[in-house]
Amino acid sequence: MNDDPILRVCTKIIVGPIVLFGLYVQFHGDYGPGGGFQAGVIVAAGFILHSLIFGLKEGRKLVSERINLIIMVLGVLLYGGVGLISLYYNSEYLDYSILAHDTKHGQHIGILLIEFGVGLTVAGVMLILFHLFSSWKGDSK
């Protein structure tokens, strides 16, 4: 596929806006449909489009396997860690009210952070699934 100039040019133009749209969906989850999972899938779709057109090796140069794993782990730890902060402030686990001066802002900040964690994890997982399935050469021993 990587010798068709129309596809290559269009992909180069559109991958950036796809990731931007993913970030928009991520942070506007309070005001419209959206949130972490959907945003993660959209961002991953952008990277997968790039890998589809330019080849798997180019895709892996963009996001190496180690970085991919680290992104996934960071997302999960962010999600769980924000809940742990509230333990430090003598409240229950996952109580976001204490993160700011009053309940409403605290919950807002908490939800933003954990949705970002979810988005990171989902984007990492979708990308790694795509690369694992498409680079499967049939040797596992």
């Binding site: 782990v73 109580d95 009210s97």
Partner: protein, 500 residues
């Protein structure tokens, strides 16, 4: 700086969160030994927290932990009472045993690339099971059910290095498990549609007025079928023999001791706590569904095990019949029946885990399935393993002074009090039939001469040490049965509200 009492107060949450958060760290670390250390740390922390929660509950009564500070029925709460404290101590204790056994055993049985990532799955399975038994919200239960199921599927599939049938076993487990969990979700949806709440305690209150509602009956039936799949109750046990046979030995140890038992605990919660006011309906479920299923499971499991040459498959079918004993205790519908079931849940975990550990110790050098013939003359080559295996086999038979005897006594007493003579007869007869496969194992270990191949196997202290300690536990709790019996008694009181 960090208040220790805060730590104490949030143990119900930490006990689930710590293994779940340590799991991705164990995946990230590339050295297998470090990942194993992280898994060991996670399981020891869970043991510490479950024992402290158990002691707290026996002193102060039920603990309700509200996640995120949201009060029920809007929020998710975690309930630690006598019954769930019993289960979390059991699961974390067997988790520690399985994790200490796992390092050497997994090093030999799975391929090199997976050796550090397996501990991530291990921690996820452990954390998921601990959350399954403590949560007080019906949908949260589904989430933990799926977390523990999907990680168990991955763990079973790792046995493909030795035998490619592990892959089909894992795939069947995945398919049947996913269908079962979806049935559970349908049931919860039906119950939500008539009560408007997902909190289990609130559901109990609201369902107690709706006892003749058809949606309630349909919902409960879907939930029970879903849980029967996970607990491997006949006829939905199809995934169990293949999964336990072809999984790596350490994985079989973990799964047999914890996964089915947690589902059986949830089943008893649904049958007795949730439905405490629906007498006729519960009696129908117990008498027409669980009772025939348990009897067939006991008879079929024992007879099939007698004719089986492959030891892991033999142990899997024996597990089927033991799960039948546990559910027979539940079908009696009395507090002493539930107490006998809980005693057998604890004892069977300890017995089967030790048996699978023993089989794993032998299969380290053979890269094929262990047949009965491979046990010939084991006492000369691996003496400590043989002694421990024999103690546990005797315990499985129900010889006095072992935990198997304690659970048989309480089960027979409960059936006797209920006056159900056919069940009594079946239990006694199948206990004697179990001699059919147990005697073959003991005879091969002690009374035959080893073939040439067997002389290649040597004993490994890292492997036989957890096995030996479990065998000692088998005898110790058989003689000093009070801790297990007393906690099971309190657990049955917590589940069965009517007995006061």
């Amino acid at each position: 700086m960090i208040d220790f009492s805060v730590f104490q107060n949030s143990l119900p949450a930490l006990q689930v969160v710590v293994p779940l958060l340590l799991a991705p760290v164990a995946v990230l670390v590339t050295i297998p030994f470090l990942s194993w250390l992280i898994a060991l740390f996670g399981s020891i922390f869970c043991l510490y927290s479950s024992v402290s929660l158990f002691l707290l509950v026996s002193e102060f009564g039920k603990i309700n932990y509200y996640m995120g500070g949201w009060l029920p029925p809007y929020g998710i709460e975690y309930i630690i009472d006598d019954a769930s404290a019993f289960m979390i101590v059991l699961i974390s204790l067997m988790g520690v045993f399985a994790t200490t056994y796992a390092y050497q055993s997994l090093k030999n049985e799975i391929n090199k690339k997976s050796q550090s990532k397996v501990y991530g799955m291990w921690l996820l399975a452990l954390g998921g099971l601990l959350g399954l038994v403590t949560t007080g919200d019906a949908f949260n239960l589904f989430v933990f059910l799926e977390i523990s199921s999907l990680s168990s599927v991955t763990l079973v599939a790792l046995g493909s290095k030795n035998d490619k049938r592990a892959l089909t076993a894992a795939f069947n487990y995945l398919l049947i498990g996913a269908v079962g969990a979806t049935f559970y979700v349908i049931g919860v949806g039906l119950l939500y549609s008539i009560t408007g709440t997902l909190n289990i305690a609130d559901l109990t209150l609201k369902l107690s007025e709706l006892t003749n509602n058809n949606s309630m009956k349909a919902g409960i039936s879907f939930i029970i079928i879903g849980l029967m799949v996970k607990a491997a109750i006949f006829p939905l046990h199809i995934w169990l023999p293949a999964a336990y046979t072809f999984a790596p030995s350490a994985v079989a140890v973990l799964l047999t001791a914890t996964a089915t038992k947690a589902a059986l605990y949830v089943l008893s919660r649904i049958l007795f706590t949730l439905l405490f006011n629906a007498d006729e309906f519960t009696v129908i479920i117990l008498q027409w569904i669980l009772l025939p299923a348990s009897i067939v499971a006991i008879v079929f499991g024992t007879i099939r095990a007698i004719f089986e040459k492959d030891i892991k498959k033999l142990l899997a079918f024996s597990s089927l019949s033991q799960i039948g004993y546990i559910t027979i205790g539940l079908t009696l519908g009395t507090a002493s029946g539930i107490m006998a079931s809980f005693i057998h849940i604890a004892n069977h975990s300890m017995m089967k885990a030790a048996l699978f550990m023993g089989v794993g110790a032998i299969s380290i050098k053979f890269n094929q399935s262990i047949k009965l013939d491979n046990l010939k003359g084991l006492y000369q080559i691996m003496p400590i393993t043989s002694i421990s295996l024999t103690i546990v086999i005797l315990s499985l038979l129900g010889i006095p002074l072992t935990i198997g005897f304690v659970s048989k006594v309480y089960l027979l007493k409960a059936v006797f009090n209920h006056g159900n003579w056919p069940i009594l007869f079946i239990i006694v007869v199948t206990s004697f039939l179990a001699l059919g496969y147990a005697w073959k194992m003991i005879e091969n270990i002690w009374m035959k001469q080893p073939d040439n191949m067997n002389l290649l196997v040597k004993e490994d202290p890292k492997i036989y040490f957890p096995l030996f300690v479990l065998a000692i536990f088998n005898i110790l709790f058989g003689i000093f049965a009070y801790p297990i019996v007393n906690s099971a008694f309190k657990a049955s009181n917590a589940i069965f509200w009517k007995v006061i």
